[in-house]
Subunit: 126 residues, 3 copies
C-alpha cells in the first residue's frame, strides 16, 4: 500500500535508483509490517535548478546526493514505528547503494485505509 | 479542486496520456460531484528502473501498462463515493484509452477545503 | 519542513524555475514561520499533453504559464495563515519571475510533526 516517490539529482545509474527503491521497500516491510510484494515506487530525476534544497538545515550537511523520499501510507502507525522506519531506511540506503545518512530526507503522508485501490476498481482494504 | 498525478511507463502516445487524464476527470465529475472544468492533471513518464511495482500484489496481474493515479481532494467524500470513484475510473480507462482493470492503481490524499487556491492568491473555498 | 512540488510547462529558463522555488520559500518564511534554510523544492517540467488544466475554472483565466504548487507541511497553521501564504506566494511570484496571479495554483497537504526526517534517520521534530 505505500506509494513511494523518490526524487534525486540526475546522473545516478539505473542500478543505484533501483537500489534506493529496494531499500525503502525493505525498510517498510520490516518496520511498518507491509505485506510481501506491496511495492509501488516512482523515481524522478532532476537537474540542479529543479532540485533546490538546504545544505545546512538542522545542521545536517547535505550534498548533491540528497534523496528526497515521500511515502504515502495508511494512517495506522505510531511514532515509534515511524522512528524505526526512518532509522532503517537510512541504514539500508547507507549499505546499498551507499547514501550518506545526511542525504536521506523522508516525509510521510497518511491516508485512510479506504483510500487505496490496487486494481480492478476495487477498494481492497474496505 | 482535485489535483491528479498520473505516473506511467514512457512510450505511450500523447493521445493515450490525454485520455487517461480525461477518464479520471470524468469519473471525478460523476462520482465526487466535482464541478465542470475543475480539472488539474499532471502526467509523468518513467523508465523501467524508475517505475518499480509488484506484478502480483493482491493477486492482481499488473503489466508494464500500469497507471498509478494519485488524487489530492477535499475530505468530504464517504467510503461509498470512494468505491464508486475507483470503479468508474477503471471502467472509463478500460474504454478509453484501453487500460486493463488490473493496471489501474489509485490512491487518494484528503485535505481540508481551505487548502486550495485556484489563482490570484485567494482561498476560494473559504 | 515544507516539501514543495512545483509543476509547470517545459520551456522556462533555469533562472525562472529557481525564482519560483525562491518565492514559495520566502512566502513560507514570512507567513508560516518556517525556519531559515528550511527549503526543499522539487520542480518538474511537462509537455502540453502531460499538463492538463482548465483555463476557465472559477472564472480565472489561466494560461500556459500556469504553475501548480503542492506543499506538504506540518498541520499547525490556521486558516488565516493559509490565506496569508496564498496571497504572499502570488505577490512574490508576480514580482519575480513574473507569474500572473491567475496562473498560481496552490494546494497544501498537512501531516503530523513526527512525519519528517531531515537526515540521519532521525525524526527531528519528535
Amino acid at each position: 500500500m505505500p506509494l513511494v516517490r523518490i526524487s534525486l539529482r540526475a546522473g545516478k545509474s539505473e542500478a543505484y535508483r533501483q537500489a534506493v527503491g529496494e531499500g525503502v521497500y525493505q525498510a517498510l516491510r520490516e518496520t511498518f509490517n507491509v505485506p510481501d510484494e506491496d511495492r509501488f515506487v516512482v523515481v524522478s530525476e532532476h537537474g540542479a535548478a529543479d532540485f533546490q534544497f538546504s545544505k545546512t538545515y538542522m545542521d545536517i550537511a547535505r550534498s548533491d546526493d540528497l534523496v528526497i523520499i515521500q511515502i504515502t501510507v495508511s494512517n495506522t502507525r505510531n511514532v515509534a514505528q515511524k522512528q524505526a522506519l526512518y532509522a532503517r531506511i537510512a541504514e539500508l540506503l547507507a549499505r546499498e547503494p551507499g547514501v550518506r545518512g545526511e542525504d536521506v530526507f523522508i516525509n510521510l503522508i497518511e491516508v485512510a485505509k479506504e483510500n487505496w485501490s490496487f486494481g480492478n476498481g476495487i477498494a481492497q482494504y474496505v
